[in-house]
């Protein structure tokens, strides 16, 4: 299983990667044209005012002092203040993060609950109409840009049929659950579902297609193994053979892909948030880019890098749990 030494090693490794990313972000900031002073002061500002702003931001310090200040800030969770909004960046990110995380999880859940059975069905009905149908669907899913899919869903499902709202979040998941538990009112939950379903499908489709393909090819490989023959020969019911034995062994690569695709979910969520006006981190970053609000961009990149490293840390651990023969030393 997972040894303590491995966990420590993997953790230190993760810290190094985050440090590398943080440094890269710092370098990017310093080679970028355009000074934050221009963002914070009017074009007519006097040299004295510009000087004062530079001093406030620490921009007149030597570069290594700025770097150390920045590292120290990141370590204590202080990502600075937004140039434009004035509020602390960490607070802005924390306020927006739940919406994005909720969307990413919903997309992953939708993708997994559809893709895994579809992949299994496809593999067990190889070269039959069901398999062709599933393969065609996943080819389309992989080849469709998600922002366009989102727009088409809005156009057909929301505008023409009038099923779900075209934009916004309605209510948060936690708030909806609280309403359900404390006041026995499922209304919040319904609102939550109605708002999240289209964005989640939009974000999850590519992921779903990818996992369907992967599950299918892994299952086909497993079904040819001898242990499957043995299971069948000793009279185990077919669903047990498929789901308990073959599928379990097919899941290893799927777990890895889920880990690697966190990057896709983070990047994709920006686009989906723009299409559905979802009040998450993605819309915040697009705003920040339009306003050249570097502090928000920087904080966001750090958050993204930390999330990626964290998720992949857990993916590696899951890997060893799923397959005890894998040694990650």
């Amino acid at each position: 299983m997972v040894s303590g030494r491995y966990l420590v090693k993997r953790f230190v490794h993760g810290i190094l990667v985050v440090w590398g990313a943080i440094t890269l972000i710092f370098v990017l900031r310093h080679i970028s044209p355009g000074s934050p002073i221009n963002v914070m002061t009017p074009p007519t500002a006097s040299p004295e005012l510009r000087e004062r702003v530079a001093e406030e931001l620490g921009l007149n310090q030597p570069i290594y002092v700025q770097y150390l200040d920045y590292l120290g800030g990141v370590l204590t969770g202080d990502l600075g203040n937004s140039y434009v909004r004035g509020a602390p960046v960490s607070q802005l990110l924390i306020d927006r993060a739940p919406a994005t995380i909720e969307l990413a999880i919903a997309a992953t859940v939708i993708a997994l609950i559809i893709a895994i059975p579809l992949g299994v069905i496809s593999a067990t009905n190889r070269d039959e109409p069901l398999d062709y149908g599933a393969s065609l669907a996943s080819l389309l899913g992989i080849s469709t840009p998600n922002f366009w899919l989102g727009l088409m869903l809005i156009m057909v499902v929301s505008v023409q049929i009038g099923f779900f709202p075209t934009s916004g979040r309605g209510t948060g998941f936690v708030a909806a659950v609280q309403l359900l538990v404390f006041e026995m009112d499922a209304g919040g939950f319904v609102t939550w579902f109605q708002h999240i379903i289209l964005p989640a499908i939009t974000l999850g489709t590519y992921f779903m297609a990818l996992i369907t393909r992967l599950t299918r090819s892994e299952m086909l490989e497993e079904l040819e193994q001898e242990y499957v023959q043995v299971c069948r020969a000793k009279g185990l019911p077919e669903p047990l053979v498929l789901y308990k034995h073959a599928l379990r062994n097919s899941m290893l690569p799927v777990v890895t892909v889920v880990g690697l695709q966190v990057g896709y979910l983070i990047g994709g969520s920006i686009v989906v948030e723009v299409v559905f006006s979802w009040p998450g981190v993605g819309n915040l970053i697009i705003d920040a880019l339009t306003n050249s609000d570097w502090m928000i961009i920087q904080g966001y990149l750090i958050l993204v890098s930390v999330s990626w490293v964290t998720v992949n840390f857990f993916v590696d651990v899951t890997y060893t749990v799923l397959d005890p023969t894998v040694s990650l030393e």
Binding site: P33, I142, S143, T144, F147, G267, I286, V304
Partner: protein
């Protein structure tokens, strides 16, 4: 570049299955449109004409609400009227609210997608293969450092960093003169095609690691082979070994990867254009963003450019599947938008 046996295998797979044929047709459609755009496009894709705005596609009738703003002295008078419009064969896919022909815009849009897809993948291919082979060949601390660098790069998703970098540094649109117009074959068409330079570079920089990882894996497994050891013992330089022995052997899996990366580059370009980071005003992603505002009335404006992307990406993906089935390297087929 390919051996006889490889070519035979490519042919076999092609004849056995319907999918590579569909893929080839899709891809040819896009490539031919892109190259011969000025000849094929029925209208100038940038020509605006308010008389024919909001025309639905051929055979379709649609009620369109139009706003006319009239200046009466200092007063602005806005009148709304609903007219039923029927599509005509002159504009088979309809026109947008500025009266531009959708079909012509789609034909021209193929250029941007193709150039970005191919150029960015070539750059990533060169950069990644060089790094990967070197790293895998030398091993040791060079390789360690290299793998850590890749991981840092991976920890920030490509799309995120691309948006940040283009947002900060600008979009660098590059106007390329159109040979058909300069030669006087189609004098009425736009003189230049604008290629989003920053997007091309950024996509290259953020997909090189895919090539590097595959090339590195190949180099790692090849460097202990007898013939490589023999070349080393007979005094061949590292550069010669990498170029003559490692590179040709790593080429097959890298080629399969390249087709997949072209597909993701096309999607990434459309996403960035949609978000307004491309700096060009004639591309599929840009047109979808434009059509988004008019989805309630003129649905065709956003529909068709999206279908064009799907056709292009399906074409490239099916080509990739074909190459993979025929050459059978061990390459992960996944991963479009990171």
């Amino acid at each position: 570049m390919f051996s006889k046996r490889t070519l035979q295998s490519l042919r076999d797979v092609f004849h056995r299955s319907l999918l590579p044929k569909i893929g080839l047709i899709c891809l040819l459609l896009v490539v031919v449109s892109g190259i011969f755009a000025p000849v094929l496009a029925p209208h100038d894709p940038t020509a605006q004409n308010s008389d024919i705005s909001n025309q639905p596609p051929v055979m379709v009738s649609q009620d369109v609400t139009e706003e006319t703003v009239e200046l009466d002295g200092l007063e602005q008078e806005v009148t709304q009227e609903t007219v039923t419009k029927t599509g005509t064969l002159a504009y088979p896919l309809g026109t947008d609210p500025l009266g531009r022909d959708i079909l012509s815009r789609i034909i021209y849009g193929a250029r941007v997608s193709l150039v970005v897809g191919i150029v960015s993948t070539l750059l990533a291919f060169m950069l990644g293969t060089a790094f990967g082979l070197t790293s895998g060949y030398y091993g040791g601390w060079v390789d360690d450092l290299f793998m850590r660098l890749i991981e840092v790069r991976l920890s920030i998703p490509g799309l995120v960093l691309a948006i940040a970098i283009i947002g900060i540094f600008g979009s660098l649109p590059i106007p390329v003169p159109d040979p058909f117009v300069s030669l006087g074959i189609t004098p009425d068409m736009p003189e230049t095609t604008v290629i989003p330079g920053a997007i091309t570079l950024v996509i290259a920089v953020f997909s090189w690691d895919h090539f590097a990882r595959v090339a590195r894996g190949e180099a790692l497994s090849l460097r202990s082979q007898n013939y490589v050891q023999a070349a080393k013992a007979s005094g061949a330089s590292s550069w010669a070994i990498i170029r003559r022995h490692l590179y040709p052997n790593a080429l097959t899996p890298v080629m399969v990867l390249a087709t997949i990366r072209v597909a993701s580059a096309i999607i990434l370009e459309s996403v960035l254009s949609f978000l307004g980071f491309s700096g060009v005003t004639l591309s599929w992603g840009f047109d979808i963003a434009f059509g988004r505002e008019y989805m309630g009335t003129a649905w065709w404006v956003a529909l068709f450019p999206g279908l064009a992307i799907v056709v292009a990406v399906i074409g490239v993906n099916l080509m990739g599947d074909w190459l993979r089935d025929a050459l059978d390297p061990d390459v992960d087929a996944g991963g479009a938008v990171e």
